[in-house]
Each structure stands twice: as C-alpha cells, then as structure tokens.
Symmetry: C2
Subunit: 235 residues, 2 copies
C-alpha cells in the first residue's frame, strides 16, 4: 500500500482527550471547592459527542461549531450532576477550552515526523480550525496541513467531510489513507472510498472503559502506534 | 504590536517564483529544442496573474482554481510567443506544475521558525490547498496551518479572503497581521481591517524588473526579511 497522502484523526488518535479533559475538569472543580471525578465527567461529556454531531450531520439543525456543541453538552451535564450553580460563565468557557489543550500520545510526534518524510500527512478532525491550531501548536505536533470538518459544514463520519478533504488535496478518495482509533470514523472513511488504518488506543476512554478494537472494524491496516504505522508504510 | 496570529503570503514573499518558474520553463523548453528566455516567459506569465484572478473576484466568471487560471494564461502566452505547436498537453501540465515547486527565500525557514515560537503563523495564499502542500513540503517550510483563498471561493485582495481566514482562526481582523511583499495584498488586508507588514523582496520579479516598494504602501511595519520581521516582533 502506497497512499498519496494520509489523513489523521486527532481526538483520541493523536491526543489523549480523556487524561487532558479529566485533569482540567478536576483542577477547575477544585478551585470552586467542588468534589468531582474528572475522569467520569470527561467520559460523560464525550458520550454526548457523537449524538450532538449527528444532529448537524443529519440536517436536524444548522451547522454548529464543535465548541458550541461542547458547550451545550457541558450545560446539560452540569445540570445532570446537580452542579449548575457551581460553575459560572467564565468557568464554563474555561471548561470548553479544555478541549483546545490535550496531551499528545507519546508516539505521536515521532511517528508523524517519520511519516511526513515520505507522505503528505494532514490532520482531519471534527475539531474547528482554531481549536486544532491551538492544540497541535501546544503539543508541537507537525502536519502538512489541517483540515477541519467545519470546511464541509458537517462532521465525520459524513462522507462529505472525507470528500471535502480529497477535493482540497486534489486526490481521488482511494489514494487517501484515513488513520484513526475509532471504528465509526474508519467505517465512514471506507464507505466514502478511502483506505483505512486503525491505530489502537486502549486507554482512549480512561482505565475503566473499553476503547474501540481493531477486530471489530474491517481496515487495510491495524497498528498499535504511529511509529508502528510509520514502519508498516516504509518510513 | 502584538498580533494574535500572523498570515503570511507565499508567492514572492516566502518563495522565489521568478527563479523557480524561469528555471523550469527553460529546462522544459530545452527538452523540446525551443529557444526561450525562461525569465521573460515567467514574468509575462505572472503579468496575467492579477487580471485572471480579478475576473473571479469581481464575479465575471464562476470560481476557478489557480491551476486553471495558470493553464489558461499559459495557453494564451504560448500562442503569443508563436510556440503553441511546440508544447503538447503533457508539457503544458508540467509547466503549470512548475508553480507547485519553487525555492524558498534564504531567510524564510529560519524566520518562520522563530516567529512560530511566539505566534500562530498561517499561510494565506491565492494558491490552492494541494499546490501549497506540495510547495511548502518540498522546501521544508513549516506553518501552523494553511489557508487557501479557495476556501473563500475568491482571491486576495478580496476582503472575503482575509475575513474567511479571521473566521477560521476565530479572531477579529484587527488582531491579525498580514505579511506580504505586494502592495495590492497589503492594501486589501488593511481595507479588510487587518494590520500589515511589508517584507521587501527586491528580486521578486527577476533582476530586470522593479518589485513593489514599502514606501508606496502604508503599513504598520516594513522589513527586509522574515528574520528581521521576527526581530521586530520580539522573536
């Protein structure tokens, strides 16, 4: 397999959203004197991620930026936890910004560096452009370009997002390799005509929750890290 | 001045289009046994650049990709030079691709590296997404993101292009600094509410043609290189 370019997912695949969000939630809660399991909260917040995007993808609401969806989910979640009166507007804005600052998985920078020697490597994320710039810059992760689903006014796994990326790269979908740790993303990419590589992230949802497993999703490649992927692609 | 992010022009400002295109035109002409002054041809080709984009900007034709405009200009130019029968379809495609592979100015990589330590530094070019990825990757030039005018379906100096960039970066125009070597680009950015920095490239159009001069354009800053710009911005 020699794709013309790689598209790489960010949340979970390149960066560890669970550890990042859990830590920031715990810290902000502590400042407010609130006892809160940051990991449980992060997991519950992320649970609302796919359903909130599905409303946009399926046309049940107009385009809304990921930060907006995160904020709406947060407000509902704080209500559900009985904590609505403990976090003010500024706290909520800080919490939403937690998704702009997440730690990279240890193999990400080195794997991306090796992959970029032979391939154009492009971030393809449901995160917004501004969010992605903040996130990748803070972790010193280098891509040849960033493509946000916002450029298609939809969200993965909508085929329009993968096809928008192919159009911008001026390449047919079958010459692109989508790299992700989620079955739903890779299924969407495959349905849109792309090739797919699973990078397994067993700790993606924290220590107590099962992550997606490569055995459950048909893909062209399955690896345990970006450095293993680099090796598999001859880098 | 402490902008929230920098937008950097590519053709002429970051890379030396004249030397790059002249050299490739000369080489392809030699293969075909055609005597041709590559520098003169490159200059004449670029002369058609602003008028061809103006047709799109002003709505006189629907959106057309920069490669398409370059190709149309090339066909007219070869006719004008009486060389239409000397370059076949494959040659013409190679010539259009010459704009995808241009040498960086010597100060570009180091200047960008220094600027990126303190600022998000984003390419903002009339070149297409695919062209920009090819160009920047070949020269090992690193940006935090690439924004092509194609995302606004127009071309600089249309205000929509600068405002599209501001929207994607989630920043107000006045917090952005547009960096370019062309008065028309900086005038457009200023009219759209951005701050502006002139980086002078006296050899931009080759040794025999005058380049734009900072004295002719009101800007917030004027420098002779990206490294000088980095110094001026405290990097």
């Amino acid at each position: 397999m020699k794709p013309a370019a790689l598209l790489v997912d960010i949340f979970g695949t390149t960066v560890d959203w669970w550890t990042g969000v859990a830590g920031q939630v715990t810290a902000i809660a502590a400042e407010r004197g609130v006892q809160l399991d940051g990991g449980e909260f992060a997991g519950a917040w992320r649970e609302r991620y796919l359903p909130s995007m599905a409303e946009v993808r399926e046309g049940r609401r107009p385009w809304a930026y990921l930060d907006t969806l995160h904020r709406e989910s947060l407000d509902k979640l704080l209500d559900g936890f009985g904590l609505a009166d403990r976090f003010d507007e500024a706290d909520r804005q800080r919490l939403v910004r937690a998704w702009h600052r997440l730690p990279a998985w240890p193999d990400a920078a080195e794997g991306l560096r090796r992959l970029r020697v032979r391939y154009p490597v492009v971030a393809l994320s449901n995160g917004g452009f501004a969010l992605l710039i903040n996130l990748l810059k803070a972790e010193d992760l280098h891509f040849d370009a960033i493509i946000s689903a916002e450029l298609a006014h939809s969200y993965k796994p909508d085929a329009r997002v993968y096809h928008r990326a192919a159009g911008l790269l001026d390449l047919p979908p079958e010459q692109l390799l989508m790299v992700a740790c989620h079955g739903w993303d890779l299924d969407g990419a495959r349905a849109a005509g792309l090739r797919t590589a699973f990078v397994e992230r067993p700790a993606e949802k924290g220590p107590d929750q099962d992550a997606d497993r490569p055995a459950d999703t048909p893909t062209d490649l399955a690896c345990a890290s970006f450095t293993e992927l680099a090796g598999a692609l001859g880098c």
